[in-house]
Structures are given as structure tokens and as C-alpha cells.
Symmetry: C2
Subunit: 334 residues, 2 copies
Amino acid sequence: MKKLLSLAVAVSIGISAHVHADRLSSELIKPIEPAVVTEPEKVELGKKLWFDPRLSMSGFISCNSCHNLSMGGSDNLPTSIGHNWAEGPINSPTVLNSSLAVAQFWDGRAADLKEQAGGPIANPLEMASNHALAVDVINSIPQYREEFARVYGSPEVTIENITDAIAVFEETLVTPNSRFDLWLKGDDSALTAQELAGYETFKSIGCVACHNGPAAGGTSFQRMGVVEPYQTDNPAEGRVAVTGKDADRFNFKVPTLRNVELTYPYFHDGAYWELEKAVDVMARLQLGRQLNEEEIGNVVAFLKTLTGDQPELSMPILPPSTNDTPRPQPFGAK
Amino acid sequence: MKKLLSLAVAVSIGISAHVHADRLSSELIKPIEPAVVTEPEKVELGKKLWFDPRLSMSGFISCNSCHNLSMGGSDNLPTSIGHNWAEGPINSPTVLNSSLAVAQFWDGRAADLKEQAGGPIANPLEMASNHALAVDVINSIPQYREEFARVYGSPEVTIENITDAIAVFEETLVTPNSRFDLWLKGDDSALTAQELAGYETFKSIGCVACHNGPAAGGTSFQRMGVVEPYQTDNPAEGRVAVTGKDADRFNFKVPTLRNVELTYPYFHDGAYWELEKAVDVMARLQLGRQLNEEEIGNVVAFLKTLTGDQPELSMPILPPSTNDTPRPQPFGAK
């Protein structure tokens, strides 16, 4: 009897392991893996730069201003506030898991995080500085020069090294261990029946065709408004700005759904604050499906299982400016 | 011989302890003691609120925006940037060790940190919200209500509790273990000869008459420009705005010198970026003394020994807004 029971348990474990291995290979959303830090000093340097508002002309805006790591790596605004309270043109995408995306920015105009990081520094609607000035500022600070020397072998600060360090820090900003990932890896109790029902709807109506991969998005560019046009006042035209091809008009990078409950408001224009409405719009405009209230509730319940462990960060202490540091100009030269 | 040696050592320790006890009682600057946290959950709640930009109308400005804990608890700007890029009227004082001050704000118009905390939330040039709206925002977020229930015994959020939690968090933002404090407590090797010479000048010309106590300041209101008037475009008139007494015109709270190397630019108008120049101006205008370059260098060297351990903080993860949360209005109602 004892032997039989052991056999039954063994068979049961075998089946269970088989089912779970199947999930990892058969499901189109893959788990987020924890960051593997191979260059901790570079990450630490990148973190300082991430939080340093001296990369902006005003001395007020840092990377974290619009990709706030206390708020899902976003600013929770329709479009961002930039230098001189400029109204940004597009919704600030979350930095969380951004290393998993095929390209950066909504239109994919930056190939990778390093290329992306140089953009906001010099964008007059964002940090409104320029690369030469940003380098001068960091170069004027002895502690930064020491850190660059340790990490890059030379105390001379360059925009390449600044953006490289920021990018390497950003690569650590992944959010593993969401309940959905626990389920993917075999924990049947990680999701409720409602959440599983939502996931089934998500797959069966076709959301997963675009929202796939470890980030549940970020793997392709797709037209915003396939079945019906998307109504918006936002003038962004998407990927056509990069490729010049008319076929790419209104094509945007598919945003990640990881931590989507934290990254409201939604879409490239940030026009939708409620996840229920965003799901409804997507189903209708992209897939020609009118979901009922229960289905929407289920999908939203599933989407909330994609919230993972948020990065645990200690606030960096920034090295002070010196008498030689170019001064911030928040209100223009005086 | 061994006994004699022991005796000699004992005598030497006795003398040394005597000298050090003397320092603690005779010196007018006292050590900063580490924070004693008796209500950790309240501190944690206060930290969340400190970093939460939803207390502002725009959803962009938090307490930390102008009292940045990565930058000595200040914004390192002459005057602060507020809602709609408003140019603030006065230099943002450091929050570090602010619990040790006799009152809050440059003119002391708030009796304590709790009273202070309500000010910026409702100031149209700062966070530009109002207390009712701030309460509505926090009240709409279940995780905050749970935390308030645990900490204050009721899930109902009030402005009194919001500002109390922020103040209790701020009380933890002290900076012990500066090299100067190690010296005060008896470590003769903590200061160099130059730093000690600077401290002697600091005392002998009279700086310490106002910059005293554990915060090396914050204990009194004093006229800015005693011997000579202070030249500034800044219209702030100081404590007269609170007391209505003409004798209080241009009286300001003496700022702390703790962490002064991190809290540039200096004075209530933030007009001086270089510590050397600030020392020169103070000696001339307040004390009628023209210090030479060596004396100024010595005093600056001493002032840099007042930089203590900066608070070690983990970035809080803020609870997400709900569909019922009043939305931020960065660019006015739309």
C-alpha cells in the first residue's frame, strides 16, 4: 500500500512537472527572470546618474522624474512635464523591463537603452540640456571622475559612458515573481479562477498575438486602430517618423503589460486612466470584439497578476557640485 | 614598572576623558545624535507621503522635489521650481536636522515640522494643491487607508495625520557621525590642523554666537546684514512678516551649517554658490571682519567637517491610484 501510494505520488509529480514544463514552452508570455548583475560598480554609477537632476538644464529634472521608480517606472501623467513645464508630446513609457523591448521610444527610434538615454538629456521639452554641457557638469565633480575611472578605466567622462552606465542600471530594473510568473512556473494556486478566465479571454480573442514574450509586449510595432481608427488629439504618427514609410503611420511599439496596474494612464496619448476602459478600447479597435462587463473584469483581474517585484533601491547620495560645476539655469541665464 | 605604566595609562585616559567631556560641555556646537525610531510604521507611512507627488496638483512635485534627500535635503537651486514652473520666492532650506530648529521656514512662521508640512501642499507657487484635495487623493487609495488605520487607529485620512506622518519621518532625517562630532566626542584624529584652525577662527570672530547648538544654527532669528546691509533683489523681509514688528525686518532664522557643503547655493536668496564667498560675506556683514584667503580656506575646511552620515533610505513603492482617485491636473483642467 505504501509502495502504491509512493508510485501514485511519483506519477502525480511527473504529470504536474510535465504540465508546468508545457506552460513555460506553450504559453506565449514568458516569465521575467531576475537581473544578473555582473558589474555592480557600473550599476551603482548608473543609478547615481539616473537620479541626478544636474543632467538637466534646470538642475530639477532627472531620469526618475518621468520614470519614477516609486510609481511603476512611470510618471502616471498623460504626457510628461519637461523643462519650463513643457507639455510633452507622448506618454512616458515605463522603464521597468524596458531592456526586454525590441527598441526604445514609442516609435522605436532608439535601438537600445544606451541610445535612448541620450535623448531626454538633450530634448528641449524634457531635460533641455545638451550632451556637451551634461559631460561638463559630471566631469567637474571629482567623485564622479573617480567612479568613471574605476568603471571605465579613465576619469574622463563622456556621453557614451554616461549613457552606458544609465543603460546598465536600467537593465537591472526588471520585475520578476509576479503571480502570473509563479503560475507559469508551476504554482497552480498563484492565480484565481477569475484571473485564469481573464487570461483565457486574453488569449482567445487575440490580445496575446501582440502582447507576448517576457514583457507581454515590446516585441513588435503594431497599428493603433486596426479595425476602427483610434480617436485622439495627439499628433504622434508613430513609426513612420523613423522609417518614412506610409505603411508605418500610426504604428507604435506594443507597450509592455507588465506592472500595467501601476502605469496608468494608458496608450501613447495617455488618454485612458481606467484599465477597464483600456481593455474595452483595445478589444474593439484592435480585434473587433465587444467584451461584456464580466469579460472585461476578468481580463483586468488577469492583468493585475502581471505586477512583479518592484526594484528595491537605496536612494543614492549624489556627490556635491564644485565651484567649477556649470550652474543650473532653471529660469534662463541670469 | 608594569604598575607604573598602568597608572600612567590610567591617568592619561583620565585626562583625555576629562578633555573630551570638556569639549562636549564647553563647545557651543553639540553633536547630532542618531534618530531614535519609536514608531517605525508611522515613519514608513511618512516616507511614502514624502515621496508621493500626488500631494501636488500636477502629480509631479513631491516634498522630495525641493528637499532632495540625494542632495543634502535641498534642491541646490537659488529658489525652488514650483507648480507650472513657478519661481519660488526663497531658497529651499535643507530638511536634514530640521527637527532641531526653533521654528520652521526662514521666517519661522511654522512652529514645528507638522505645521510646516501643510504649507507647500497648498502653496500655489509650490505644490499648488489644497488640503481637501490632498486628503481626497490619499483617502481614495486602499493601501494608504490600511496604513493610516494601522498607524492612527482609523482608515479616515486627515490633513492632520498626513502632516503628522511626514513630520515624524522628517524627524528621522538627522546626520550624525560627522568628523566634527567625532572630534567633539573625543577623537583627536578626526580633524586636521587646518580644520581645527578654521574652527578656532569660526569661534574667535563670533560665527558661533549664532551658529550653535547641535545643528550649528536654527536656534535663533538674526538680522541679515548687521554691520553692513545685505544687497539682494530678493524681496523677502523675514520675520517681520510673522511678528509685524519693524525690529524684525530682515531677521531670518539662522540656517544650519550641518552638511553645508551639500546645501549650496547659500543664504535666503540663494545668491552665493561658493562656500568661500559665503564665509567672506558673513564675516564682513555680520561681524565686520575681513578674513584673508587663508582664514577663509580654514573656515571652509572646518565647515566641510560638518557633513554627517546622510540618511540611508530605500525608495518607497507607492500604492497605485484607483479609478476613484482625483486625477492630477498638470496643465489645468481638461
